[in-house]
């Protein structure tokens, strides 16, 4: 469903993402982990079509994000780290705008009511987005991603700024989307969340994929058989040189 081949994103002399490969199949959740500045957000923004890759290929449902933008993005949902919403639309209008763009108005009313209720946005539906708190905006951003029938979902730090109830609901939503066959890529710093949600994780450091695998594979690789993902992550990122010398995947 989502295939990334040799993705490179370069800003002048700085290579933010270097030769990134990944494949995410339907019904799979992959966590993108890494320290600050590792290239997670840049990678995600390239996949979402916000940034144009310097080289490499990104295929969404078989469509190239650069050459077949419209078809590729038709099945894509992206939730940015900082909610970027039209502040002078109401909550309801924003959801409708996204649904109209994706041409999914047939199921709009039912989906909208369900999302507004689940994310406690019901009483805010007529309010301008500008008046929402940061957490509310994040919920709306997620709701916009779920309002259309995306089968590739990208989440950039989706739980930051969301209250515990909202975070719980979002996790359930991600698992629901997975059960419906969506391919999901989550960039996060919350390692315990990644541990609970993700089938596989990819650890990036300085734009390079250090390692990819299930938690069990990572444990085995790091020689920490009974450790948590947090401990494994810290070990691997601290011991970057050693990890970088190992084959990816």
């Amino acid at each position: 469903m989502l295939e990334v081949k040799n993705l490179v994103k370069q800003y002048k002399s700085y290579r933010a993402v270097n030769d990134l490969d990944m494949t995410i199949n339907g019904g799979e959740i992959v966590g993108l982990l890494g320290p600050n500045g590792a290239g997670k957000t840049t990678g995600l923004r390239c996949i979402a079509g916000i940034l144009r890759p310097t080289s490499g290929q990104i295929l969404i449902n078989g469509w190239d994000i650069v050459t077949d933008q419209a078809k590729a993005k038709a099945g894509l949902a992206f939730v940015p780290e900082v909610p970027s919403l039209y502040e002078l639309l109401t909550v309801e209008e924003h959801l409708k705008f996204v649904a109209m763009c994706f041409n999914t108005m047939d199921q709009f009313e039912a989906k909208k009511e369900s999302l507004l209720e689940r994310y406690n946005l019901d009483d805010k539906r007529k309010d301008l987005v500008a008046t929402l708190s940061k957490g509310m905006k994040q919920k709306l951003s997620v709701a916009c991603a779920l309002i259309h029938n995306a089968n590739v979902m990208l989440f950039d730090e989706p739980l930051i700024g969301v209250d515990p109830a909202g975070a719980h609901e979002l996790k359930q939503e991600i698992l629901r989307a997975k059960s419906e066959g969506a391919a999901i890529l989550i960039s996060t710093h919350l390692l315990d969340t990644a541990e609970k949600l993700c089938d596989r994780v990819i650890i990036l450091n300085r734009g390079v994929k250090m390692i990819e695998g299930t938690l069990e594979e990572l444990r085995r690789f790091s020689g920490m058989e009974t450790s948590s993902l947090e401990e494994v992550f810290l070990k691997l990122t601290e011991d970057e040189a050693e990890a970088a010398s190992l084959p990816h995947g």
Binding site: Y11, Q69, A70, A77, L89, T90, C101
Partner: protein, 543 residues
């Protein structure tokens, strides 16, 4: 004081003010023509120069007071976020900070008339000098000017203190202050409206200049403009050598000043609270205004609860599909943000285009005038309205770029949405032009054909320059972008416009000329749109 240049500027500024107080009449001299003055005043029976001087002084200080009083109920906005995080937690006494702020604002207020002082010092000084040379009591003129400047210093201080006291009192975050603010706000609005109505009504009964002088002696006005009254008493006292009146005027201003400082100091505890809650909203708003970001400005007002969603059901209930949703979105945002500007430019375009047709019966050349004004109106509305929209477009790349459209489709619909007001005003003007002056029908149709393409082209150029110079917070880039936008618009519109003029000159039908201009403009638009699409695709907000 953050740098030496500011210090030098401040010293220079206060030097000018000080010089005016100490040497009000220094400069070249020329004998004052008292004969001429006498001849002029002889035309006015029973002239009382003292009364006229009082009236002029009162009017001048009333005018100044009016402007100093503006915004007295709004939050003092001189704090910055760093003040809240760094200054406020320190043990510095809020009262001390407040006194410093009052003093700083007072100095800034004194700078306000500097421009007029610089421009007017030399001629005013020469006039005073010649008056002094010719007057019976030269010292009196010197003293009068000095006391007038002193009155200005006191009036400015009084209003700075009044503004602080009122602002701190009505902007506290408690319910009573909300109520007080509403009562005071409405009270002042009614007072100003009543005052304007009263003056307007009185003016209808005036026949001579003495009636106007009499108006300045009206007790109601004297009470409302109390600071002007006190200032006038100070000047009046000097002219009539009446020390008690001078002291009464100065004492009145000082008494109000001390009272307001006392009220401000009792409210000092609320100052940090107010600054932290909404103190820098105004700073943000000013930045947004300077960058021409109307949508950001309205969004900031919406965050403060000052803008509501409004009743736009007729639009928000509509369903469109695909990229047309971008037009729908732009319509809703436009109605909530730039509606006032749209209506204003729409009205200006219609007015300037149709006025020549209404103003004269001479129809020779009316078609050319119509087209000229029409083009000007479309240029104004398209360039002024589109900038804010493109800033918003770039700010929302995270939501807009993942939409299922190619970048060129997104750019096309965004540009079209911004050009719609210009297109509609062109068509409306054409229809009205034909109704008002049927003989120009060919020009009106030519305009209906060519002007929409002109609006699209202008919006496209604005889009391109906004993408190329996207840092709207950087003043130097903002200025450069404005210049490049203007140059770009001129170059892009020149071929179509010049072709139209040339073809008209060789006697081709205006409709055909309009059609050819449309084709040329669309061709250039396609080329610019292609560049815009590429640039938008490469646009990275993080860079």
């Amino acid at each position: 004081m953050t740098n030496p240049r500011r210090l030098i500027a401040l010293i220079f500024a206060f030097g000018w003010l000080l010089r005016f107080v100490l040497f009000p009449s220094r400069g070249e001299t020329r004998a004052f023509d008292f004969d001429r003055l006498n001849r002029a005043t002889s035309l006015l029976p029973n002239v009382d120069l003292g009364r006229i001087l009082d009236a002029l002084v009162f009017a001048a200080f009333a005018f100044i007071s009016f402007f100093l009083a503006l915004g007295s109920l709004s939050t003092r906005n001189s704090f910055r976020p760093a003040d809240v995080d760094v200054l406020f937690p320190t043990p510095v006494e809020p009262k001390l900070v407040l006194v410093f702020r009052i003093f700083r604002d007072y100095l800034l207020t004194l700078l306000a008339p500097l421009f007029f002082v610089i421009i007017g010092y030399r001629p005013a000084s020469m006039g005073l000098r010649s008056l002094q040379n010719s007057a019976a009591d030269p010292e009196l003129i010197q003293r009068t000017v000095r006391i007038a400047v002193l009155a200005w210093l006191l009036v400015a201080l009084t209003w700075v203190c009044i503004n602080y006291a009122a602002s701190l009192f009505v902007n506290r975050s408690d319910l009573a202050s909300n109520r007080n603010r509403r009562i005071l706000g409405w009270g002042l609005a009614i007072l100003v409206a009543g005052l304007c109505g009263y003056v307007a009504y009185q003016a209808t009964t005036f026949h001579t200049w003495q009636d106007w002088v009499g108006l300045t002696e009206n007790p109601f006005l004297r009470v409302v403009f109390f600071s002007a009254t006190f200032a006038m008493w100070m000047v009046h006292g000097v002219v009539h050598s009446d020390v008690a009146t001078i002291l009464l005027g100065a004492g009145g201003l000082l008494a109000i000043t001390f009272l307001c400082i006392k009220i401000s100091l009792t409210q000092a505890g609320w100052m940090y609270d107010q600054a932290a809650v909404k103190g820098f909203d105004a700073i943000d708003a000013r930045k947004l205004q300077q960058s021409g970001d109307t949508i950001g400005l309205i969004a900031a007002q919406a965050r403060q609860g000052r803008v509501k969603a409004g009743r736009l059901n007729w639009l928000s209930k509509r369903v469109v599909r695909g990229p047309a949703a971008l037009l729908w979105k732009e319509g809703l945002i436009g109605f909530r943000s730039t509606m006032f500007l749209v209506v204003l430019f729409f009205a200006i375009t219609v007015f300037v285009t149709l006025l020549p047709l209404l103003a004269t019966n001479d129809r020779s050349g009316a078609g050319y005038v119509f087209l000229g004004f029409q083009g000007m109106g479309v240029f104004m509305s398209a360039s002024a309205l589109s900038q804010a929209g493109f800033i918003e477009m770039l700010r929302r790349v995270d939501v807009q770029k993942p939409l299922p459209f190619s970048f060129s489709t997104t750019v096309f619909y965004e540009v079209l949405a911004k050009a719609i007001p210009g297109i509609l005003s062109a068509w409306l003007c054409s229809i009205l032009g034909i109704i008002l002056s049927p003989s120009i029908w060919q020009y009106a149709i030519a305009s209906a054909l060519a002007m929409p393409s002109l609006a699209v082209l202008i919006c496209l150029m604005t889009c391109l320059t906004t993408i190329l110079f996207p840092d709207f917070e950087d003043p130097s880039q903002r200025g450069f972008r404005g210049m490049m936008n203007f140059v770009g618009v001129v170059f892009a519109c020149a071929p179509g416009t010049l072709a139209f003029i040339a073809l008209i000159a060789i006697g081709l039908s205006p409709i055909l000329c309009g059609l050819l201009t449309l084709v040329i403009n669309l061709g250039i638009s396609a080329a610019v749109a292609s560049i815009c699409g590429t640039q938008y695709a490469q646009f990275n907000p993080s860079e």
